[in-house]
């Protein structure tokens, strides 16, 4: 039984490494769209999805180097990504991010 469990541990490590390589390839594909992209909203979408791929990469590295210290990184990237995307969308729509119509 222990040999089978060793084999499955190796299988988890192997699938984590394969997933890291595939996510890195997908980030490279998205960098193409983020630089070449015909309009500015294309670049905003590509940057949003690059951030989500970085969240997945942090989770995979937490599997590979058995730690819990990457879990804060996941939440931090998620929150900053949402704020950045909302700010970019408001800037693309009106040209202003913080509106002041007090006076």
């Amino acid at each position: 039984m222990d040999e089978i469990l060793d084999v499955t541990q190796m299988l988890i490590q192997l699938s984590a490494i394969v997933s890291i390589i595939a996510v890195a390839i997908s980030i490279i594909l998205l960098l193409y769209r983020a630089t070449i992209g015909p309009t500015n909203p294309d670049r905003a979408v590509a940057l949003d999805i690059i951030g989500i791929n970085l969240m997945a990469l942090a989770g995979l590295i937490a599997i590979l180097l058995v730690t819990t210290k990457f879990n804060d990184v996941v939440l931090l990237i998620g929150i900053l990504l949402f704020i950045g995307t909302v700010g970019l969308a408001k800037f693309l729509e009106k040209g202003v991010i913080i509106e002041r119509d007090l006076d």
Binding site: S26, A56, V74, E93
Partner: protein, 128 residues
Amino acid sequence: MSGTWINLIFDIIICLSLLMGTFFLISGSIGILRFPDVYTRLHAATKSSTLGVAGIMIGAFLFLYVEHDIVSGKLLLGILFVLLTAPVSGHMISRAAYRSGVPLWENSVKDEYAEVLKEEQKRQAPDQ
């Protein structure tokens, strides 16, 4: 004896969820690369990235819980956060793109938001 079999089954579930999440992430990025339009690219972006992050985070949570007895709710909170914020940010980007004048794909059939915008402008014009 039974605990070891349960460990084996959990290992296989972890492998399958990791590979499923990776498949969804890479298919989403291929969709962003190959769709012709911002509004169709958003379809590929938000849904598949939500599923991919959910798969990888469930894999990491099960790995840390089953193998090392660490319960980290932050990974599940990450799933919840992406599930809440990805549709909102996609909607905001698509509305900003339409209002800043990005054209639709030339083979698009229907454009309902143009009629809504025209009615809105007609309603706002007599007030001023």
